[in-house]
């Protein structure tokens, strides 16, 4: 199996290390080795810092990409936002000569040069592509039969389609397949492809708008009796988990829907315990899904 450098970002290491733990443990089971990216910073967040100054965004992203280039490995990561930044910056720098020149001029001041030697792959691509659905199914020790999962693809894993290689963004299948490989069922719900509301500096700038979108999505998921939300993005994860606490305090609406990152779900199905997956340290307790699991 290939080696990857692990880009951590901000949310996962600094707020939801359970995702990091779950990802490291599950990838290890499949023989995927993760190297540290020493000195990496915020990607930087595409909707926030890309909105303030795109040149800064490109330069800081390039610095992160250089760390991986120096290690000679492709990057993998657990956040759609980080994916958007690093994948897109990598692509733009490889195709826009003027931008490359500008960025390298800046990087020269810290003795770095972007060469365009590596690729950026979301951890979902590793599971679906490198590892494969069959291997995943075989590794399941605790099939999640009867568990209804509301899959939330998020936005930047699939879009913009031109710069991604995952096919249709209207009715994608990758994440549903990955979830169903654990034995769980991916349920259809209204506006499944809708954004969680966190991105584009909206969470920081207009929390009410942001949370209203989250509220709408959660309501749609509850309406089809989902047992949990599963997403491939640490930021969506925060928005759904912490967001439920905020929605409760702002509007007194309670959903009590556990929020799992894919590797946390997979970890459960592979027989890992909820504790080591960090599930007990989230805003919404995982009881709803754990109860259903234990009753089987």
């Amino acid at each position: 199996m290939k080696q990857y450098v692990f880009f951590l970002g901000c949310i996962m290491p600094n707020r939801y290390p359970g995702i990091e733990s779950a990802t490291r443990r599950t990838l290890k089971e499949f023989g995927v080795e993760l190297l540290d990216m020493d000195g990496a910073s915020c990607c930087p967040a595409p909707g926030v810092f890309g909105s303030f100054d795109l040149k800064t965004w490109a330069v800081l992203a390039a610095r992160n990409l250089c760390i991986a280039e120096e290690l000679g490995r492709d990057i993998t990561l657990c956040c759609n936002g980080c994916y958007a930044t690093l994948q897109e910056a990598n692509h733009l720098l490889k195709t826009n000569k003027e931008l490359l020149e500008e960025v390298n001029k800046q990087l020269a001041s810290i003795d770095k040069e972007f060469k365009g030697k590596i690729n950026v792959r979301h951890v979902m691509e590793i599971f679906h592509g490198d590892i494969g659905l069959e291997s995943i199914s075989k590794s399941i020790k605790r099939p999640l039969k009867g568990i209804n999962i509301a899959v939330h693809d998020g936005c930047h894993f699939l879009k913009p389609r031109e710069v991604r290689e995952h096919g249709s963004s209207e009715r994608p299948k990758i994440l549903d397949e990955l979830v169903e490989a654990t034995g769980a069922k991916s349920v259809e719900y209204k506006d499944k492809m809708m954004c969680c509301g966190a991105g584009g500096a909206v969470r920081s700038g207009h929390l009410d708008t942001s949370l209203d979108m989250t509220r709408e999505k959660l309501a749609n998921m509850i309406a089809v009796n989902a047992d949990s939300v599963v997403s491939p993005c640490a930021f969506c994860h925060l928005q759904f988990d912490r967001g439920q606490a905020e929605i409760k305090s702002h509007w007194n609406i309670e959903f009590n829907l556990p929020v799992l990152f894919y590797t946390q779900l997979l970890g459960l199905a592979m027989g890992l315990d909820a504790e080591s997956l960090g599930l007990r340290n989230q805003s919404v307790p995982p009881d709803k899904i754990l109860k259903k699991l234990s009753s089987k």
Partner: protein
């Protein structure tokens, strides 16, 4: 009885070169072809109808592009609605003319920030980034949780490597980003 307010827009009220400014700025990052797509909009409204933020705010995606095309520079850049977009890319995916709507919105936001339109909440996030290298820096609670989960107490990022943080901040200063967002040393 006061005079009625003039309702008519004349060329003197418009900045007809604004769209060129947007294209030129956007071209530096996204390339000339992508940035130029702002000219292709035929105002069909697919973007607005796809927008999840539009359904709960006064934000109308199509209007932003319209204002850019026609030359309502001030309207486009001072509009709060410009910041309601979550950059979900649904509009850009569906636009039948191939307009890079989301990327153009980010371009407009850049131009707005350059003119000093940035809210305190965003300045705060920028402050975190500049000070620590992270938009969401680690806190004590999470350090403990990391240890409990068998991870390193401090993640191997700019939180841990002072030299890397130094490089990061050097770039930030060189790019003038700190000045752009009104960052002041030693403040929160």
């Amino acid at each position: 009885m006061s005079l009625t307010k003039n309702q008519v827009i004349r060329f003197s009220d418009l900045n007809v070169k604004f769209v060129n400014e947007v294209v030129e700025y956007g071209a530096k990052i996204f390339g000339k072809d992508a940035a130029n797509t702002v000219r292709y909009c035929v105002q069909c409204g697919t973007c607005t109808a796809s927008c999840p933020a539009g359904r709960r705010t006064s934000f109308r995606t199509r209007q932003i592009i319209r204002d850019t095309q026609l030359g309502f520079k001030e309207g486009a850049l001072t509009n709060d609605d410009l910041w309601a977009c979550t950059t979900c890319y649904t509009c850009q995916e569906r636009c039948p003319r191939g307009v890079k709507t989301t990327d153009i919105i980010r371009t407009l936001r850049n131009l707005a920030v350059r003119e000093g339109h940035i809210i305190p909440e965003h300045k705060k996030v920028a402050g975190y980034l500049i000070r620590t290298g992270h938009a969401v820096p680690i806190d004590e609670k999470t350090k403990k949780l990391r240890v409990k989960l068998g991870l390193s107490k401090i993640p191997p990022t700019t939180h841990k490597f002072a030299e890397s943080l130094g490089d990061f901040q050097k770039l930030v200063k060189k790019l003038g980003f700190d000045q752009l967002v009104g960052f002041k040393e030693g403040t929160r």
